[in-house]
Symmetry: C2
Subunit: 324 residues, 2 copies
């Protein structure tokens, strides 16, 4: 089996070859721009790894792998409008560089392109691949809506949070792997175990991201830490803190959350101190580990040789220790 | 064969039965709202008529017919954001009633739902139906982009205009009929002739709309005339006028186009006078008739009995004489 770095290279090169019409340029330039912003190409690599896991050749899965990556980038393009994000990967977002109308319509077009790419599979797996893809796409939209609802919601449980990140982030990871499995002709049980592996890895991955945003090594993490705290983002850490805080800590936490003007560094330090006294980091790590273990259990259930599973094991472990 | 009124009733009733998740309500309420705004259900009716034309039962095509209607409504939801339209069918648009973020994401979800509905066809036609649908969806996006480009473009040819409305409006009419034909197992030539019929009817329909907006009977047309003139909309009529106007008329026309503040009625009357002196109405009617004749030629080529074609003939003639 090949490793993710190999697949990342393949995907970067294949993404450049995607056939797009030349005009109207206002529609297609932003798509090319978005796809060229880079990234680890995690999801499409997982499609290819899912195929190899069951003895298929990764070349069979290139087109749907591209489909998943184009879909993912479509969701980012639209999410950036909704979140009013000025930057993505240190570059201007599409609605900033062009305008919002173009970002809506280019995004729509990307979504159609992703469907076209997903469809490039053999007849006998076409319906399965497309059904899973659409089911996942609806869930991703639902996850984004739940995430937007969070901004105005005063109360949210940790369970609701896990549900939100499952939809917004994790199901697409599961879908990627399962798509590969379907293409390779894996049986239903194995597909489902692999999906559960991916979904739980996805949840663990997002929890890890929440932790890194507060406690990550800025150099290794590649961005400034504390962004979530500054933006009052309701991550697992904040929700846990709100849940377990005593009267005094709750008052102090809410004071920082309500503050309109503040010194960013001071707010980050103060909230980190509260997190620290409430042990929310270890609570988040525990939850992350729970999902990681669930993932591993599902991978164990997949009925292929240990040798074949090795790439996915290494991959998932690497994801969990990245840049912290 | 059944008539469009019969199919409109069927579609209104079937649209209410579309399965949507209950939550998040912010995502699904706007979809229900949009689908309940009404309309003639032209496109889905054409899917069913396309199926009946080739001896299929319309029930086979209900789901993809719904898919086309949901897709059409998705494009309206996103177009309304881009066009900053406050009203649709005299009701607040989704981005006005809720907000823009919700209109983006509900629209995205509608698109996924439309794909799911399109997919509910037999295995042997699945790939054909989906390929046509995606090809059309891309073209509709391109058409909307070209339409947006028109707003800032100073010069545009009539040919470019026909190209734009072909993509934005007409290809979905062709796609609707052809989808029905594919489902009924029509051969490739017949499918293509029917597509050309639909596409040209679509162009004629849009030109008719341009004419009605200026010369329609307000009561029959159901909305105030002159809206396109007030908004400087680059319709066939205006582009034709700009093309054929002599120096004096061109100066006068451009003066009205450049005016920031004006009496709406006066502007409509003045521009109509210019149109009148330049005979642009008859030029538009000629172009409309050209496309109508192309449509009829294509329908003539379809290899089924005259009896079966009758419903489509009556339907297309009705479209052309409506409310003028």
């Amino acid at each position: 089996m090949h490793d993710p770095a190999f697949f990342q290279d393949i995907m970067d090169s294949e993404l450049k070859k995607i056939q797009l019409h030349d005009t109207p340029t206002e529609l297609y330039d932003p798509i090319r721009y978005m796809l060229a912003l880079g990234g680890k190409r995690l999801r499409p690599s997982l499609v290819l790894m899912g195929t190899e896991l069951f003895g298929g050749h990764y070349m069979e899965a290139i087109s749907p792998a591209l489909g998943i990556e184009v879909f993912h980038n479509f969701t980012l393009m639209h999410d950036d409008i909704m979140d009013k994000a000025p930057l993505r990967r240190s570059q201007p977002t599409v609605h900033t560089k062009w305008n919002q109308e173009i970002a809506i319509l280019s995004g729509d077009t990307m979504f159609v392109k992703s469907c076209e790419l997903m469809m490039q599979v053999k007849d006998d797996v076409l319906r399965n691949v497309m059904s899973l893809f659409y089911k996942t796409a609806v869930e991703v939209c639902e996850g984004q809506q739940l995430d937007m609802n969070y901004e105005t919601k005063t109360q949210a449980t940790l369970e609701e949070y896990i549900h939100m990140i499952t939809l917004k982030t994790a199901v697409l990871v599961g879908c990627s792997l399962k798509t590969g499995a379907i293409i390779a002709g894996a049986d239903e049980h194995d597909r489902d175990h692999l999906y559960e592996f991916g979904k739980n890895i996805g949840v663990a991955f997002q929890l890890h991201d929440d932790i890194l945003d507060v406690y990550g090594d800025e150099q290794k993490f590649g961005k400034q830490t504390g962004g979530d705290i500054i933006a009052n983002k309701k991550t697992f850490l904040l929700l846990k803190a709100l849940e377990v805080a005593g009267t005094e800590e709750l008052k102090e936490l809410k004071r920082w959350l309500a503050m309109k003007e503040f010194d960013k560094r001071k707010k980050v330090e103060a909230v980190k101190d509260i997190f620290s006294s409430l042990h929310v980091r270890s609570a988040a790590e525990k939850k992350m580990d729970e999902h990681f273990q669930l993932a591993i259990q599902s991978l164990n259930r997949v009925n292929v040789s240990e040798e074949r599973k090795m790439a996915l094991r290494i991959f998932s472990e690497k994801l969990m220790v990245r840049e912290c």
